[in-house]
């Protein structure tokens, strides 16, 4: 047999990958070409040198579907944390509404406990406003003001102390502001507890 092998077959022969009839055929052809034999010897020496210096490559354990198997192995290697997270999330989802309700009830209870002072009664039945202490300023020297919310009178009361008395000579008899007094007030004067009633 004197058929010249193609380059691919020759390369496989150089790498010692041929077997059987294919190997025998090329061996017969190479026997007449000593340069190829020398070349194969050189490749063999080079390969031996490389394999001595570099550890042999480890074949992947699962050549088929390697990536998917690696991903599956990763999943299987960490099963516990995933399960634990899922369980905790479920509990949290269940406990959150209950915890929110408990928090609101606790806040409401604390609010009822922190309320101090008498409960104001609005005689008109109108909604009770939040009592706010007004700011009081007395620019005059010697004048002091005491401010408080009177639940009995259902009013804000300011008591001025140290104010100069109005001279008794001051006469308000010329006051014209009472001419337009409401008829209701005039009628109520009849029923007043004040024994003297209206002074006319």
């Amino acid at each position: 047999m004197n058929t010249t092998p193609d380059e691919t077959t020759l390369a496989r022969w150089l790498e010692d990958e041929l077997e059987g009839d294919e190997l025998a055929a090329i061996e017969a052809w190479v026997s007449g070409h000593p340069e190829h034999l020398a070349e194969r010897e050189r490749v063999r020496k080079w390969r031996a040198m490389i394999s001595g210096a570099v550890p042999a490559a480890e074949e992947p354990p699962y050549p088929d579907f390697f990536n998917s198997r690696v991903a599956q192995a990763i999943k299987e290697s960490t099963p516990q944390p995933a399960v634990a997270t899922k369980t905790r999330a479920g509990w949290i989802k269940f406990l959150m509404p209950a915890a929110a309700c408990a928090g609101m009830m606790l806040t409401f209870w604390l609010g009822t406990k922190t309320h101090s002072g008498p409960v104001e009664v609005d005689v008109t039945g109108a909604p009770k406003a939040i009592p706010v202490e007004p700011l009081v300023y007395t620019p005059e020297k010697g004048v002091e003001a005491e401010c408080f919310s009177s639940s009995k009178a259902s009013a804000t009361v300011i008591v001025l102390n140290g104010v100069d008395a109005i001279p008794d000579e001051t006469d308000f008899s010329g006051s014209t502001t009472m001419r337009g007094l409401r008829e209701k007030d005039k009628t109520a004067a009849i029923q007043m507890d004040n024994e003297e009633g209206a002074i006319r």
């Binding site: 009081v136 004067a189 007043m192």
Partner: protein, 168 residues
């Protein structure tokens, strides 16, 4: 002819200025405030020596329920109701023509139907005696126990006044 045109232009200008002044939104009324001055005494109410008006029974009971405001006799000396304006201050002069007691007030916040916050000053004898901010509600007035006068004391009451409907 030219004079007539000039006068017409002036008239139009004046009327438009007047309209703009009337439409000032800051002068719009947002409530009514009533200031009443009572004379409270444990002595003879005739000492007031003036024409006082009887105080409504409800007011008497309300004043008497608070120890510091409790007197045997109450009489109304004067009363003034002034509008609460959106942007401007108002002055109540309950003892007209006397200026012995004056109350200046303006809205501190936008009033609602149930409550109003006022920036309020009480002037006595032309002196600013008290400055305060006060929450007023429909039936929750401010009582100020003020100066002595004729064996008693003046009580200045500031309250929201109901809206008066114009007569038909």
């Amino acid at each position: 002819m030219k004079l007539w045109l000039w006068m017409s232009a002036c008239g139009v200008l004046a009327s438009s200025s007047l309209t703009m002044a009337q439409e000032d939104p800051g002068k719009s009324k947002v409530g009514m405030v009533r200031v009443t001055v009572y004379h409270a005494t444990n002595g003879n109410p005739k000492d007031a020596g003036v024409k006082t008006t009887a105080v409504p029974k409800e007011t008497c009971e309300r004043l008497g329920s608070e120890a510091l405001l409790r007197f045997k006799h109450y009489g109304t000396l004067g009363q003034d109701t002034q509008p609460l304006l959106r942007s401007y201050e108002s002055w109540a002069q309950p003892l007209k023509p006397s200026e012995e007691v004056l109350v200046r007030f303006d809205a501190k916040s936008h009033p609602t139907k149930k409550t109003t916050v006022l920036d309020l000053e009480l002037w006595l004898s032309h002196k600013k005696i008290l400055k305060t901010d006060v929450h007023l509600e429909g039936n929750r007035p401010l009582f100020v126990l003020g100066p002595e006068w004729r064996k008693g004391r003046l009580i200045i009451a500031v309250a929201l006044a109901p809206e008066t409907k114009p007569a038909p």
